[in-house]
Symmetry: C2
Subunit: 370 residues, 2 copies
Amino acid sequence: MTRFGKHPDRDATDLGAEAVQGAVADAGIDPRAIEAAYCGHVFQGMVTGQRILAQVGLAGLPLTNVENACSSGATAIREASLAIRAGEHDVVLAVGTEHLTGRSQGAPTPDPSDPEAAVGATMPGVYAMRARRYMEEFGMTRSQLALIPVKNKKNAAHNPLAHFRKEITVEEVLESRPIADPLNLHDCSPVTDGAAAVIVMSDRAARQYGNGRAVKLAASTLRSGSVDTQPTSMTYEPLTWATAEDAYEKAGIGPEQVDFAEVHDCFSIAEVLRVEGLGLFEQGEYPAAVERGEADIDGRLPINPSGGLLGKGHPLGGTGVAQVVELVRQLRGESGDRQIEGARVGLAHCRGGKAVGIEGAACTVQILVR
Amino acid sequence: MTRFGKHPDRDATDLGAEAVQGAVADAGIDPRAIEAAYCGHVFQGMVTGQRILAQVGLAGLPLTNVENACSSGATAIREASLAIRAGEHDVVLAVGTEHLTGRSQGAPTPDPSDPEAAVGATMPGVYAMRARRYMEEFGMTRSQLALIPVKNKKNAAHNPLAHFRKEITVEEVLESRPIADPLNLHDCSPVTDGAAAVIVMSDRAARQYGNGRAVKLAASTLRSGSVDTQPTSMTYEPLTWATAEDAYEKAGIGPEQVDFAEVHDCFSIAEVLRVEGLGLFEQGEYPAAVERGEADIDGRLPINPSGGLLGKGHPLGGTGVAQVVELVRQLRGESGDRQIEGARVGLAHCRGGKAVGIEGAACTVQILVR
């Protein structure tokens, strides 16, 4: 993955190309071994992936651009894995990229046709309501919620590619600029540019090229939002659970076997909703678990060791691929001073599109095993 | 497919939903048999496919939005077929949609960062240069070129879902408003809204649900543009040939066995370049063949019996899926007074992105067999 952050002099193609070259170098393969590619992005305009291939000298390959809101990068990996399972290809590139600052300086503006956004139900607004409701239902304190950005930015400080490299305190979270009460600036993921890429291989190719460093993609699942799978409560995510349940079943691995996870903490409260929706913590119990240090890198179940979206940054298309990059590096034991000891099973979760409602959401879960 | 045309009171979601409901009705299946979906579009914004699923009561399914410029809809079908071949699903929906008039009243404006477009190398400009060069190299007359929109609009007049339902004459083409010399208004595909959908099935599901009406998808291939596969001449398309060659090989069917084709006639000259690039006609010979009626519905090798992009219209994401709808209906013998007698092998071709250059193009070829 590229350094995440603000890259005023670059664009999504250039960042994507850097990530692809990094993935090829990491895999130790001849780039000509790559047979096809998928590119995940949201706002970068048509044929972005084709431009990336041309820039790295791989034009001509089959390439499909995919978009599933904040799950776009993860979807690229899923489609790469399907192309392999179809027997169509053995070595497939998945790249996710976004030059979000080129699109907007603040949060992306809502679709003008969205009547809910027009009355204030923007992403920060909806997550603020969910935070308030969670506090009401489960007694979470504002300071407990603030511990999530504190933890994630601490992890990010140990990640040389993260957008933010500075630890913060609970007081700094509480005193940062209000965005949508009770969420302050430090409760919100930043507007980030960045890209990440992975090489997905068949078992056969992994034996040929893997050098024992390949990590198994045990499941890669995707679901869209629906009346049935959207929250009927503000504090639980049936869509996250449905997608995770598919993944646990495919991988033959239950939530109790997951050693660590990268989850879609677009806001501090989102991390709570995700880990509980994934079945990694009981509903209502995550804030206290964070307070006890259970989600720290040296805790019982580390969450967002990379720094997550809050600390590492959130370049929409790049996000889901970067999560898998973190999983791979942790499972290989290459994560330096943020290494999770003995990590064997990692889970990555993304959720994009509308936060609450009956339509327009996408969720992905990937499980990787050493 | 929906009626193609200008739909000021509708949007891409609504059109997509109509197409999906039509495809489900045509297939005679319970919509709950659909296990996953792909949505192709270019300009409709994030999670368009998820909105369509929600509108038809199918939210919750895995859905991936795909974008490959004018090949987006065809790519949705390719990805659906890969998901089936992977053994992941048996019944997959592919929908393509575009509300292009909602995006722009004229041709989509070029990317402001494109230096070639800034000096006039827009789509009409580049195709005009290719037409001029083709006339120079192969002696095509302006009137011969005009016969292509005449043929396609004649076919469209027999297609109740086409954007244009009125036959035109060579004189009308020659006297229509100049766009980029030598191309006039009737040489250019229109700005169209519309959607189309198909149900892709495994062999097993086709036996269960097909009622003998299923048509075999013998190949669905995709390539991106590159230095090697882009035209070194203005009058031949190596990218089209490379993509077609993949398809012929996969299908075990050569160009001489193709009975009819839907090709990407975004401009009159484009039809010439496509059919010659596909190996369906020898280079330099297509204009005279059209003059002899060989590409007519009752000719030796009918091209664009639906009316093509020039006559049926060109709603970017909808285009590639609508081509396959035409192939299926022709192969089933359901095309009424534009039916091709004895059609057994049909080919569909799309090409999107930059017309000339080293990057940013996508090409698809699909071969269907009765």
